[in-house]
Amino acid sequence: MEEVRLTQLVRSSGCNAKLPPGELHKALDGLPSLHSDMLIEGFESSDDALVYDLGDGRVLIETVDFFPPMVDDPEIFGEIAAANAISDIYAMGGNPSIAMSLMCFPSCLDISVMRRIMTGAIAKAGEAGVVIAGGHTLSDREPKFGLAVTGFADKERIWTNGGVRPGDAAVLTKKLGTGVMMTAHKAGECDASEAIAQMRTLNREAKEAAEGLCVHGATDVTGFSLMGHSYEAASASGVTIMIEAERVVFLPGAEKFSRLGFLPEGRYTNEDYLSEKVSISEGLPLPLRDLLFSPETSGGLLLFMPPEDADEYLRRFPSAFIIGHAEDRREHPVIVI
């Protein structure tokens, strides 16, 4: 059987396939939102997941995420899609428990490819302690896969993107550049092995390393880019997030391929939406500016905590790094220096 190349079947891939944020707001803003007294985080808050009060001191956290493949290997695609979907539960400080799969599958592909996608997803879910307990499958021209994931947390210990306080350090737990590296990979320019390894990595350890530390706010960095997710956190928290560009760590090769124009389309729609909300130092080289606006897939957690807790966190989870801090609200919600 001829080896399938999943990325050749799709126009866009990974979190880059998200509808541009400006378009999403045009479609949804002003719609009536049905009210539930038990819903703590819902439609309005632009957070990573919904949070539902179970009334016994616990909350239920629910999220859904699916996308077209960014790698050719079906099993690795399944792993990345699962790690990416489950991440939203970690970004809320929760423990993921159960999931259902969403699969769109072209009739032209051998059914064994679907099995391999599911094999990867089940393995990654198992690593997170998540049971995939059902799902729904459609016939579609382009393959897509993801999970709807449910998790639980103590009500008093959930992390939202609206709790960031002035003085908090901003800690990022994975390198930036997956979107650029996978665009270069699709073009045959590199093997992107480090980007793929990073996308397959659960944010479980990153979340558990914060156990007992004071986390005021959290999100994860995916399709809306570091700039977009920082803006959502700053906006929800009423603060300004200052990012020091030289402290941001990029995947090896990301700056080079950014300079060569291997940028996902979402890089441009992200900046369209964010141009008035984000202030970037004019001296920042264009390849770095491009990376800050580029979509990430299965990106790291962005945690906001007091500087002393951030220092302890870095001791426990040394691959994370501080990228800046929060201040009292200024004119722009996000400032890059």
Binding site: G188, L260, G261, L263, E265
Partner: protein, 68 residues
């Protein structure tokens, strides 16, 4: 100057096509693009490998004149 039409292609395809075409046309070429990401990305590529780029609107897209 030869003309490369990348209309209908999404990134990274227009960059790959430009890269290949520049290999055979080292003095430069014109590239037609029909979407913004292709316009920006092809311009970045050409500049990064040492060319000057002039962009003008044409039809439903842009014409990029890439020269030494």
């Amino acid at each position: 100057m030869i003309v490369l039409d990348t209309s209908g292609y999404s990134c990274p395809e227009p960059v790959i096509m430009t890269k290949k075409a520049l290999r055979d046309n080292k003095e430069g070429l014109c590239v037609i693009v029909d979407n913004r990401a292709a316009k920006e990305n092809v311009a970045r590529y050409a500049a990064a490998v040492g060319y000057n780029v002039e962009t003008e609107a044409e039809g439903n897209g842009w014409k990029l004149t890439i020269s030494k």
